[in-house]
């Protein structure tokens, strides 16, 4: 297992958000965490990244405990984070945004994919055209590509991606999903949070469904297609 989350309990201030969440990811796997709004999907990702510190449980990455570490330490171990709402640096140019993704830690994980700024521009020609534009002036789709590309610059082994298709036009949603599968093909494991299961079912290997801070379903695409009651209960509006 590349990532093992065991029985974590996370809080925002006093409210108890995650009630013993456990999940796992193998090397190179693309796993999708589904569920309605407010069930704790983003909190689960933020707990892995160290932005939210779980009060109980354990998170192992390559056998090493992540709980108690700062986000920058977790990043240096080889985990990249693509946040919800894109969060590019608005006052920096696209090029500067990418430079921010370069990791320079002492105990940096060796990079398997070897992403450099040239390679990123080859993979995202649209970003190359806009390299001197400020982050704030990019379109939503361009911003989403930029956050993903910025994270790739750090050559992570695992990428945590929070609602990558939210608020994007259907044609751009397709591009983003294609981009994520291409990244997975290059050997990066991806743990993705989504609300839109129809979009993710084409690219994910396995699914977890969350409800009220707990995992209520685990299985592959076929199992999820077959489990109509589960979808009705936890996904459909």
């Amino acid at each position: 297992m590349l990532l093992e989350v065991k029985e974590i309990h996370s809080y925002y201030e006093k409210s108890h958000i995650l009630h013993g969440v456990s999940l796992g990811l193998k090397e190179g796997e693309l796993v999708c965490l589904l569920g309605r709004n407010g069930v704790g999907k983003s909190t689960a990702l933020k707990s892995v990244m160290g932005i939210v510190q779980p009060r109980k449980g354990s998170i192992l990455f390559g056998g090493q405990e992540l709980i108690g570490k700062e986000p920058y330490q977790i990043s240096r171990m080889g985990i990249g984070f693509v946040p919800e709402d894109r969060r590019v640096f608005p006052s920096l140019t696209a090029n500067e945004n990418l430079l921010m993704g370069i990791r320079r830690g002492k105990n940096e994980a060796p990079s398997k994919q070897g992403w450099t700024i040239e390679k990123v521009y080859d993979a995202f020609p649209q970003l190359k055209q806009r390299k001197n534009s400020k982050g704030a002036h990019l379109s939503g789709g361009e911003q989403q590509m930029l956050t993903v590309a910025r994270t790739l610059m750090g050559n992570p082994e695992l990428m945590l991606v929070d609602e990558p298709t939210e608020g994007l036009a259907p044609t751009i949603v397709k591009d983003v999903l294609k981009m994520l599968s291409a990244i997975r093909e290059s050997g990066v494991a991806i743990l993705m949070v989504e609300q839109n299961f129809k979009a993710s079912i084409k690219i994910a290997d396995r699914f977890y469904i969350m409800s009220k801070g707990q995992i209520v379903f685990e299985g592959n695409g076929e199992a999820l297609e077959a489990a109509e009651d589960v979808r009705k209960r936890y996904l459909e509006v």
Binding site: M49, I51, E70, P71, Y72, I74, S75, R76, F81, P83, R87, F89, P90, S91, L92, E96, N97, L99, M100, G101, R103, R104, G105, E108, R150, T151, G154
Partner: protein, 286 residues
């Protein structure tokens, strides 16, 4: 009115001083969301350290280097050992601790150096005057302005041409994201806080010989520096520069034309800017 060029130059000099102080204040606010009430106390410490160092060595240039360095370490220590500990409790506590630090510094200054104004006499070529197109103007004030320009240029180069600069600007935008990209943000905070304190201390060193050194000097300039960063937009360096020039000139010409109103003019300008653009001239809309 041959006074006009003189007061214009006075305004520029004061603007330079204000920019040295407000640039650190606005960067710290932009990154850490902390309004540092102790920032002007660092400025005052710079002036007092310089006073003592000048008495001991008589070397002003030494003072220009040593005092900001001392302030860097004091600022870094305040961030590392005080601010960071109260960070989890929220903004009010952070504000209170900087207020406490300002209070302790002011009282310590009174205790060590006395509760009365101290004058600094530089002597040498800096205390002379120079003929500028038929106008005799003190060399020292020009020197202050030159220092402010030099520091601003160095700062602009670092911020816009180096990796550290990109990291600092990115942290002003979104420090949490910077942290997730593998950059030791707590260390960046300590560094920038210390650097801001050093700049403020540097301003104190160069202000000492011109303005008197006394325990109320911090509170006096803090108000102007706050007005500058509010007008310029919290977190914006360009805003701090433009607003420093506005306030510098306004204070200078206000003192010439409407001496009784000069403080009110500053608040009127601030109110006008906030009505037109609530986030300040160069501030981002929240």
């Amino acid at each position: 009115m041959s006074d006009i060029p003189v007061f214009f130059l006075h305004g520029l000099v004061y603007a330079g001083l204000l920019f040295l102080i407000s640039s650190g204040l606005t960067l710290v606010f932009g990154m850490m969301n902390v309004l540092n009430l102790a920032h002007a106390a660092f400025y005052m410490l710079g002036a007092y350290f310089s006073y003592s160092l000048l008495n001991a060595t008589g070397n002003f240039w030494l003072s220009l280097i040593v005092c900001p360095l001392l302030l860097f370490f004091i600022g870094a220590a305040v961030e590392r050992f005080l601010l960071r500990r109260v960070h989890v409790y929220g903004h009010v506590q952070e504000l209170l601790i900087t207020f406490g630090v300002a209070y302790i510094i002011t009282e310590s200054v009174k205790w060590i150096w006395g509760n009365y104004p101290l004058g600094v006499n530089l002597g040498g070529f800096l205390s002379g005057s120079v003929n500028l197109f038929g106008l005799f103007y003190p060399i020292y004030r020009l020197f202050m302005f030159f220092c402010a320009i030099l520091i601003s240029l160095i700062m602009a180069t670092v911020l816009y041409k180096t990796r550290i600069g990109i990291i600092v600007r990115a942290s002003v935008d979104d420090s949490e994201m910077v942290n997730t990209l593998g950059i030791n943000v707590p260390l960046v905070f300590t560094g920038v806080f210390g650097f801001g304190a050093a700049l403020s201390g540097f301003a104190g060193v160069i202000a000492g010989p011109l303005l008197t050194t006394y325990p109320g000097m911090a509170a006096e300039i803090l108000v102007d520096a706050f007005v500058v960063i509010v007008i310029g937009g919290m977190g914006s360096l360009v805003g701090a520069l433009v607003a420093s020039l506005m306030i510098g000139e306004l204070q200078s010409f206000g003192a010439l034309l409407f001496p009784k109103l000069s403080l009110a003019l500053m608040y009127m300008l601030m109110a006008a800017v906030l009505i037109i653009k609530p986030s300040g001239l160069f501030g981002e809309e929240q």
